[in-house]
């Protein structure tokens, strides 16, 4: 087992990884920016190292600082969390070159899966259905030519993008001509690479993702799927599992596709294979693979009873996956609401500030993953997520009710949050009936919320 791990992240995931390490008897060193010196994670870690000022670019996004901190404190492992550098080749390579075990896949796998176009190519080679699309398109004219072949509407996507950023939709040639340059410029600004590719845009889609694991012994395992269709600007807002709309026959094909990709890549450690599911045709298409632990991993933990972060640490320690596929069982239904310090009525603008009251809901079937407490100053430098609220219940209908009760019991003062917005989602007849798709929140729900 790894002996001492540097946690190269912050907020709730830092606390989560520290807890998992402590359960396994692994010592913890937390890298913090100056703004995070007094956080819950800093109090829980065995040791804290201040790696830089508040700005992420000068702290959490600097691979050399993180590796130096790990090496100088005698760490033999480094856990990247999610976001930040968790899928950055440079960090993984630096760890590999310095005999620091990266808790995640190899630098080679990260590189292959991180470039979204290369990932598509790998999926096709593995026999996984992909969204009809193109290779790189260098000009608006090329893009328009492809679009007329694969059919409108189309999406222009950044090859080096991900997390839903750098995506433009076009319904006709004029829109491609209008967006192409802007899409490329934004891609270069956000990801350092302006390369674009195109995919058909599926209007009535669900975002269905499969949690997977690989290990050093060639094993591949899935832990079922999650439905993350409730999104705003391609950022997930509510996630749940299992994917309740999937017929069993589709589920079986989905799992096979996900594991085929894991085996094809020789992928090691935790990952998530994301698909678009067209409910009208029962077709699913590979979208991308996330080579890290995800924000919404607790949804799967609640319905399977498996500790995903502990499993990551075990696999990174060179151990085989701790369970067989036949041991994996899905029990009940789980929903997660991402609680953010933001004001949905003001364009979802972040609302940092000091929490003066923090009273989350409690009880059986409720799980809170958070780094917040009364008196905590939510800083302005990072994303606005302050907690993940989850419920686990025997079926979806009870889970929705349980989440609504939990949200009604969640009291936060001192900062504005999206708790009231989540309550609105949980009360909405479309959501209760499960009649949603990836555009539902932005088109139907938001309009209703603004009218309230």
């Amino acid at each position: 087992m790894l002996k001492r791990v540097l946690i190269a992240n912050r907020g709730e995931i830092a606390v989560r990884v520290i807890d998992a390490c402590q359960s396994l008897g692994i010592e913890t060193v937390l890298a913090v920016s100056q703004a995070d010196r007094d956080t819950m994670g800093a109090k829980r870690a065995d040791r804290v190292v201040c790696i830089g000022p508040a700005a992420s670019a000068l702290s959490y996004l600097n691979p050399a600082l993180l590796c130096q901190a790990a090496l100088s404190t005698g760490c033999d492992g480094l856990h990247p969390g999610y976001g930040f550098l968790s899928e950055k080749y440079e960090l993984v390579k630096l760890c590999e070159d310095n005999h620091l075990k990266f808790v995640g896949p190899s630098s080679d796998a990260i590189r292959r899966v991180g470039n979204k176009l290369e990932a598509r190519v790998a999926a096709e080679a593995a026999g996984v259905p992909v969204v009809p699309g193109s290779g790189l398109v260098a000009t608006a004219a090329e893009a328009a030519a492809f679009a007329s072949r694969i059919g409108y509407p189309v999406m222009l996507k950044a090859a080096s993008g991900g997390g839903g950023r750098g995506v433009f939709v076009a319904h006709e040639v004029a829109e491609i001509e209008a967006s192409f340059e802007r899409a490329s410029t934004e891609a270069r600004a956000s990801f350092g690479d302006g390369s674009l590719y195109m995919e058909r845009f599926i209007g009535n889609a669900r975002h269905i993702e499969v949690q997977v694991f690989g290990d050093d012994f060639g094993a591949a395992l899935h832990l079922g799927e999650r439905d993350c269709s409730i999104q705003r600007r391609y950022q997930k807002v509510v996630e749940e599992g299992p994917g309740y709309v999937l017929p069993e026959r589709v589920r079986a094909r989905l799992y096979k596709a996900a594991l085929d990709l894991v085996r094809y890549l020789g992928y090691v450690n935790a990952g998530t294979v994301e698909f678009l599911y067209d409910a009208d045709t029962e077709d699913f298409f590979f979208m991308e693979m996330n080579a890290r632990v995800q924000v919404e991993h607790p949804v799967t933990e609640l319905i399977t009873g498996v500790d995903i972060v502990q499993e990551q640490l075990r696999i990174a320690s060179g151990m085989p996956i701790s369970l067989r596929q036949e041991d994996v069982a899905i029990n009940g239904h789980s929903i997660e609401c991402r609680i953010n310090a933001e004001q949905p009525r003001d364009g979802f603008m972040p609302r940092p500030g000091r929490i003066t009251r923090w009273s989350p809901p409690q009880g059986p079937g409720i799980r809170i993953d958070s780094h917040c407490y009364k008196g905590y100053l939510v800083p302005p430098y990072y994303d606005s997520m302050i907690a993940k609220l989850l419920v686990h219940a025997p079926d979806r209908a009870s889970a929705v009710k349980a989440m609504l009760h939990a949200l009604e019991d969640f009291e936060v003062e001192g900062i504005e949050t999206n708790i009231d917005f989540h309550r609105f989602v949980m009360r909405h007849p479309d959501y209760i009936a499960g009649q949603v798709n990836t555009r539902w929140l932005e088109t139907t729900l938001l309009a209703a919320y603004q009218d309230k």
Partner: protein, 161 residues
């Protein structure tokens, strides 16, 4: 002891910047007393009892047999009037010489100007120079060669001229 070094450092840094003259802390079997006057009056001033909120009750002290790095903890008692810290601009390993065997960048007692290189800070084999931010006399060096410092850790004490 359930208080972490980092908590003491934060508290002392706060004290240093505050208008307080003296601070006494008692928590979980630890007592700390610091003064800006050079001496501590017996039972003078308010007593600060900090309830240290430490949810991790079973965190053991971190044994570091293989780790060459320690981080020194400064106390405000180290800074006399007119003295300032030169703080590390970056996390990294401190080297007092441009290369092994060469003379040190500076010695204690030496005068420095704004911009005088005082040491190197190494991050993963990339070396940057740390320069003095004031004009004055180097009074003390707080770290040893090859020691890792964190961002903002005091490295030298300089008496400003």
């Amino acid at each position: 002891m359930s208080i972490k070094h980092e908590e003491i450092r934060s508290l002392l840094s706060f004290f240093e910047k505050s208008g307080w003259e003296e601070l006494r802390l008692e928590a979980d079997g630890v007592r700390i007393a610091v003064s800006k006057n050079g001496s501590l009056a017996d039972h003078a001033g308010p007593t600060v009892t900090a309830a240290v909120n430490n949810p991790s009750s079973a965190a053991p002290a971190l044994p570091r047999p293989n780790s060459p790095a320690t981080v020194s903890i400064e106390t405000s008692a180290d800074l006399a009037p007119g003295q300032v810290y030169l703080r590390a601009p970056s996390l990294g390993v401190v080297w007092g010489r441009p290369k092994p065997g060469a003379p040190s960048f500076i010695e204690v007692g030496q005068m420095v100007e704004v911009g005088t290189t005082v040491c190197l800070i190494e991050v993963m084999k990339l070396f940057t120079q740390m320069d003095s931010t004031v004009r004055g006399k180097v009074v003390r060096c707080l770290v040893t060669d090859g020691e890792m410092v964190e961002h903002d850790t005091p490295v030298f004490i300089v008496e400003v001229v």
